[in-house]
């Protein structure tokens, strides 16, 4: 009995020590499954644009950091419940999310796109190159109409709790059959298996997958921005944590001025996605 007591006391103590040791570190949550934004290498180490950017921002803030992995669908609840202090996970700044958390200024922006397997009847779909949903001009409306009829009866796949899901369910492209997945990897798998007729995600998520897997995934239709797609990607922070929010905003300013963001973005995306 005594041994058990001693053992559990030691366990409690060590638990307490690890908690207090982490107290002054900024913990940053990321998904680790959305390349090239954030992902893992073969050894399980977190890599990607945001992982590298996070270390850079921490240097500018002048505080120790720790990067924590978290499933995408629990990202915002985990932040609110203080499992970590900031989100850097390719999370776009949207009005809906701003009801629950604050965002720093945007550090990168990247368009969304539909993708199909080569040979799909959606391949030659006739729209403009890109549409911005913030201003619904005649041309945008015409493209949405083309998409509505092209997507009717198709199974459209996307990751759950994303801007892409919001857009597909917004009614802008009519009432369509949306299927949602826990990770982008699973969307890619079902796109190649043929369970999905078409998928929607960040355009780089598809080009990255096509390049690495050798599968003939091709982008179709216009690229999307604005409206449901939000205003760039920023750092998500708890609403009451204004001090940390200011620190991140200042760090992003400095990193932008010194060219760090565009350098890291070019390295991971192949083009300058910084903003």
């Amino acid at each position: 009995m005594n041994i058990i007591k001693k053992f559990s006391l030691g366990l409690l103590l060590s638990l307490f020590l690890t908690i207090s040791a982490n107290a002054d570190k900024i913990r940053i949550g990321t998904e680790g499954a959305y390349p090239p934004w954030n992902s893992k290498d073969a050894s399980g180490k977190l890599i990607g644009f945001e992982v590298e950017l996070a270390w850079t921002l921490c240097r500018y803030i002048g505080q120790q950091c720790e990067i924590v992995e978290q499933d995408w669908d629990g990202m915002i609840p985990a932040l609110i419940m203080r499992k970590f202090d900031a989100i850097m996970a390719g999370m776009s700044i949207t009005a809906e999310r701003q009801k629950a958390i604050s965002f720093s200024q945007g550090y990168a922006d990247e368009v969304a796109s539909l993708a199909v397997m080569k040979g799909s009847d959606l391949e030659g779909i006739d729209t403009s190159e890109g549409i911005n949903l913030t201003k619904k001009t005649g041309a945008v409306k015409k493209d949405l109409k083309t998409l509505t009829s092209a997507l009717a009866g198709k199974t459209v796949c996307t990751q759950t709790a994303t801007i892409h899901q919001n857009f597909l369910e917004s009614g802008d492209v009519g009432k369509i059959n949306v299927r949602t997945y826990k990770t982008q990897d699973e969307v890619n798998l079902d796109l190649t298996s043929g369970r999905c007729d078409v998928a929607l995600a960040a355009a780089v998520a598809f080009t990255d997958y096509a390049e690495k897997s050798g599968k003939s995934v091709v982008l179709v239709g216009p690229t999307f921005s604005g409206g449901a797609f939000g205003n760039g990607v920023g750092v998500g922070i708890r609403k009451d944590d204004t001090e940390l929010l200011n620190a991140f905003n200042r760090a992003i300013d400095k990193a932008r001025k010194n060219g760090d963001i565009s350098r890291i973005a070019t390295k991971w995306f192949g083009f300058d996605a910084s903003m």
Binding site: D73, I76, P77, T160, A161, R179, S193
Partner: protein
């Protein structure tokens, strides 16, 4: 605690419970047939036949249900030969993939439950039947099967409850069952505690019903 959210999400979750119940009932019916079939094979004297049945239950009881669903859904979907075969009509649908995984899983457990129930039947019952000159086929269907079913009721009730909770894994292959819809509501409201409490309450209520149904049946068929 956001009571409003709990109240507004309740009807949506109740609606999704229908999918959960459908998954549960279809896989239990299929699993019961599979279980009975494999339990009979297990009792067969031929070593090849009973080893085969043992292998089936060993594999499906020895691996997590989540892994089984993933292998059937994402794994089989990667095999090109399968995709061009007639099987793809079934395997293309997440619903049927989940049903196949659930039925095979509960079938394995049910076969063990029934096998042990058959083996606990006192030889005296069978001997009594034989001494009355009843055919062994009729002894099996009229004496052994009813006794085995009664014997296995408590364990099988457990299996139904485990399977009810197992259906929550259907949400991992895009199905909008009770857990799937709960996750969906959380993804737009960011309030997991409230929604999961309501969903958990619905699961608990279903378990309560199943538990009492089995208790009732146990009493009714006690001897």
């Amino acid at each position: 605690m956001d009571l409003d959210l709990m109240i507004t999400s309740f009807p949506k979750l109740l609606n999704a419970t229908l999918i959960t119940l459908k998954l549960l009932s279809v896989s239990l019916v299929l699993g019961l047939f599979l279980g009975l079939f494999f339990a009979i094979l297990r009792l067969n004297k031929n070593p090849f036949i009973n080893k085969f049945a043992y292998g089936y239950s060993y594999i499906f009881r020895g691996t997590p249900l989540l892994v089984q669903i993933f292998i059937i859904y994402f794994g089989l979907g990667q095999i090109e030969y399968l995709r061009s075969s007639f099987l793809w009509v079934v395997l293309k649908e997440p619903y049927w993939c989940a049903i196949i995984a659930f039925a095979l899983n509960t079938g394995a457990y049910t076969s063990e439950i029934l096998r042990s129930a058959f083996q606990t039947i006192k030889p005296g019952f069978i001997e009594a039947g034989k001494s009355l000159g009843i055919q062994s086929k009729i002894i099996f269907y009229k004496i052994q099967v009813p006794i085995a079913i009664r014997q296995s009721l408590p364990a099988y009730g457990n299996e139904i409850i485990l399977m009810l909770k197992g259906t929550s894994l259907a949400s991992t292959v895009t199905l909008m069952d009770l857990t799937g819809v709960a996750k969906y509501i959380i993804s737009t409201t960011f309030k997991p505690v409230e929604v999961f409490i309501v969903a958990g309450g619905i699961y608990l209520f279903m378990t309560f019903l199943i538990h009492n149904l089995i208790k009732f049946l146990e009493k009714k068929y006690s001897y």
